[in-house]
């Protein structure tokens, strides 16, 4: 974001000096760029969050490993102190305008809460469900995120929630017919609402990915195609909505214009599950055609102004070709044939990408 802002600012200065725009316009544009650039995560913020994660990991390991050095009441007191100092200190930092520091302290405090749960389990030899412990940690972090309006804590809660989903599923041993945690859908809805309040687009993106994971878990668990088909339909609808009504959909979803990309990811994930289920059936070829059509359609309809979408579509195209090759042709041709086909496909793809990129470039120049 910062890179883009500085590049545009340089361009504005150049346009001004070459007489393309007047002084007032140049100043207005520069101010606009500066205002909007601050919305994204800056490099410094990302480094701060990474630092917070490292410090948090150190804290957790200290709780776990060094437990003879301190008496245990001292360790409990230390955890309580970090929770209090982290949340209150973070709030003070936020009031003074240093967002990065406040988010770092919030994350440390939330980690100390999770460490505290582990510490109590260790103190009293609890061997209960780790899964429940992670859920409590997630809920505590989510409540803190909502109360303090912290985007970083929202992301933390989403990560913990996804971890809970995975652990709860692993506990089922991936066997069909067991109960999958449907309550994750409720949790996800709550986390989505909190993310709107805390203005964390990153948390919403992670949530969408975790919901795709949930659909796949549901598919594996129930051995039906309900979830993948549902996911595919919803993803197509999401893609179409983001394309047809960009302003409206962005106002509702607030995904930093990433809705179309999420739609394409969901489409690929859903269709992949369907393909895996049907790869020995005659219907497979029709599914593959739908995937090709979907990916190329997404590329042509939405790829012009969206580089990430283009890259994703190209990747999906290659992936699908490999998939079809393995299923349909793999048995007929040998290894040499594979290299031949791979070479031809890559050549075709390179040609296609060049054509598409040129078309978009010329269309962009005309617009």
């Amino acid at each position: 974001m910062a890179g883009y802002a500085s590049a545009v600012t340089k361009d504005i200065a150049r346009w001004h000096s070459s007489g393309l725009i007047d002084e007032a316009t140049a100043r207005a544009l520069t101010r606009d760029v500066a205002q909007h650039a601050r919305q994204g995560f800056s490099f410094g913020t990302i480094l701060t969050i990474l630092a917070a994660v490292l410090l948090a990991a150190a804290l957790l390991l200290l709780v776990a490993a060094n437990w003879e050095a301190f008496p245990r009441l001292a360790r409990v007191a230390m955890i309580f102190g970090i929770i209090l100092a982290g949340y209150v200190g973070g709030a003070v930092a936020s009031r003074r305008g240093s967002t990065a520091l406040s988010e770092l302290l919030f994350i440390l405090a939330a980690t100390a809460f999770g460490g505290g749960i582990a510490l109590v389990a260790q103190m009293y030899h609890l061997s209960g469900e780790e899964t429940d412990a992670i859920l409590i940690w997630c809920l505590g972090t989510l409540a803190a995120a909502a109360a303090l309006r912290s985007p970083a804590l929202t992301i933390g809660a989403v990560v913990l929630g996804s971890t809970w989903l995975i652990m709860a599923t692993e506990g089922l041993g991936w066997r069909a017919g067991r109960d999958i945690p449907m309550s994750y859908l409720l949790l996800a809805a709550v986390m989505w609402s909190v993310s709107l309040w805390t203005r964390s687009a990153a948390a919403r993106h992670l949530l969408l990915l975790s919901l795709m994971g949930f659909a796949i878990i549901h598919h594996i668990d129930t051995d039906t195609l309900v979830a993948p088909i549902g996911l595919t339909i919803v993803s197509i609808a999401l893609f179409a909505w983001c394309l047809l009504q960009p302003a409206e959909s962005e106002r509702w979803l607030k995904l930093n214009e990433g809705g179309a990309v999420q739609g394409l990811i969901g489409f690929i994930v859903g269709m992949s599950a369907i393909q895996f289920a049907l790869y020995e059936e005659p219907e497979f070829i029709y599914v593959a055609i739908v995937v090709f059509a979907g990916v190329i359609g997404a590329l042509l309809l939405g790829g012009r102004d969206n580089r990430l979408l283009r890259v994703l579509a190209y990747t999906a195209f290659v992936y699908e070709i490999c998939f079809v090759y393995v299923v349909l042709l793999g048995s007929m041709l040998g290894t040499a044939g594979f290299f031949l086909v791979a070479g031809l496909v890559l050549g075709l793809l390179a040609w296609l990408i060049r054509r598409v990129e040129r078309r978009f470039a010329s269309a962009g120049a005309k617009a």
Binding site: L60, L61, A64, A65, W67, E68, R72, L73, V76, I79, F80, I83, L84, G86, Y87, V88, G90, A91, V92, S94, R95, A109, F113, G116, I117, A118, V120, A121, Q122, M123, Y124, H125, L126, S127, G128, I136, G140, A143, A144, A147, L148, R149, L172, R178, D179
Partner: protein, 191 residues
Amino acid sequence: MNHARWLIPIAAIVALAQIGFLASMIAGRASILRNGTEVTLAVEPVDPRDLLRGDYVTISYNISSLPGSILGLSEAEEGAPYTVTVRLRRGTDGIWQAVAAQYGEAIATPAADGEVDIRGTTQTAPGDNLANIRVQYGIERFYVPEGEGRPIEEGVRERDYTMRVAVSGGGAAQIKALYENDRLIFAEPLY
């Protein structure tokens, strides 16, 4: 509401709520240790180690595997793990044995004098009709100082260890003390 203006008091409330939750966990466990009925179980070793929580020995007890024949059915709950209530009675050797068990949070007949009901969970569904059923009571981990897991694990394998366990009125179990024959190896402080 001006959220930013109230941020510091809100942060204090969040911190106190989380601290309060942890403190209530500790208080609950201390209360079981203080007030729970004490039973003695025979220890059988399984397997050690967990990365994040320091070192522990996984142990199992003489009541960890129950004969399916003593397990009474009740209306099935939704999904594993299933709650099981197990009734214990002191044997002549001082070790408590399972005398009855039932799915759900209680046994139909009330416990007699000298009997204690303990709550556990199992992955075995009602009606599976297995000869033996594994039950977990939440006391299957014994945390030891780092590096001391092996000696205890080996000791458990070679000698007779028993565990004093406190059981609350609601059936929750809490490790209280580990004995080698009659020698105290470890006792849990209240806090």
